[in-house]
Assembly symmetry: C2
Homo-oligomer: 232 residues x 2
């Protein structure tokens, strides 16, 4: 006799706010874990897959159009992860660009990853896993597009990478690495200098706004094909 099993989806929605990486959470008003902070999500519907479900449930917390990337992280399925019922969760990473400030319900707020309040169930581990995934993919994909505004200066982009990666990043190197992979391109426009003056910064955008891994990062790549000769 199988214990009744429920399936839920949960999302760690991350955004860079005021220079630090923050996560969206809501405070539980009822037991179990009353008062603790939980990730948005809920039960999987009958006619949707997990990805559709998490997007639907996020729409109840923030405007979906502001979530620029959603990605499956892992299944959390420990038998006692939620007291009482057998509940299996598919966890997601969600990203919101730094220039949007979605309206959120009154029980919901952003929290910096460093210094999270008391979290419900195993949601802290989910946030951790989402952060790890973000750090990894920032460095070998174009995932930066999901954190950045449509147009930005290199130093603004540098700030985003520093906040997400947690270590210094050279602006010169960042620009060169991203442009030579054709991930970044200049818009031609410039942004006016700040209050202290300074040279106006050129504006850039990501060439592609869907995830796409750079194949050149891989080691042990296929042999160089030299140049494919023209037809004889």
């Amino acid at each position: 006799m199988a214990r009744p099993t429920e399936h839920e989806v949960l999302a760690a929605v991350l955004q860079i706010r005021e220079g630090s990486l923050q996560v969206l959470a809501w405070q539980r008003a009822r037991p179990p874990d009353e008062g603790r902070w939980a990730l948005p999500g809920g039960r999987l519907g009958d006619d949707e897959d997990v990805e559709r479900s998490v997007r639907r449930q996020l729409a109840e917390k923030v405007d979906v159009r502001e979530v620029t990337h959603v990605e499956q992280i892992s299944v959390f399925s420990s038998p006692d992860r939620v007291p009482g019922v057998r509940q299996i969760a598919t966890a997601f990473l969600g990203l919101v660009p730094s220039d949007s400030d979605p309206e959120v319900p009154s029980d919901t707020a952003w929290h910096p990853l460093s210094g999270l309040p008391l979290t419900a169930f195993d949601h802290a581990a989910i946030v951790e896993a989402a952060h790890d995934r973000l750090r990894a993919k920032l460095s070998y994909t174009n995932l930066g597009f999901a954190l950045a505004p449509r147009e930005f200066t290199i130093s603004a982009l540098r700030g985003l990478y520093v906040a997400a990666l947690g270590h210094p990043v050279s602006a010169t190197n960042l620009q060169r690495v991203l442009t030579r992979r054709r991930l970044l391109e200049p818009t031609g426009e410039v942004s006016p200098p700040g209050p202290a003056g300074g040279r106006p910064a050129a504006l850039f955008r990501f060439t592609d706004r869907v995830l796409h891994v750079t194949d050149a990062f891989a080691v042990l790549r296929p042999p160089s094909e030299q140049l494919r000769g023209a037809v004889p």
Copy 2:
């Protein structure tokens, strides 16, 4: 009224056999999809998480001790992926070293990834995803340990990488890349030459037999810390 939902685990167990990458599958004897080939797996038990479950269920097909690596791939949750019931699957990649030949039940067999027979449900997509994951991780982790015997020659290892990656690999380069990352180390022993003679090949082993990503592969890494000065 929620439709009753079941949760199952499925594994694409891969092994290099006779120079080609093959997957373990069993032939369904009953509808639905009777006669088609399915991946090993089954229903999640009440007191186990998905990882324990897939290892348990694999034990019914092959000796678990021969599975050197198990890794979660993704959740497959399309509402109509299995006719009749609402069934959600957590898919895994499993690896078996090339020198073991586990006994399998009579309904079970290995099939080359190129030229799979008719597969049940969405299992072909799972195999595809597992293959992609294997290719990716072979090039920036030490995952090769899970495909290789405990000790091997460089050219034998090269054969495994060629079969798994699907493109030529230089033996010289393979050895250098893996040894400089401290993933490979010589045992000191040599293997006797083949029937045609030739110089005896040195034997190697993987230094670590658990998965472990090389941090040096990442681009945009933290700034060099030069040399940490000695204590004053």
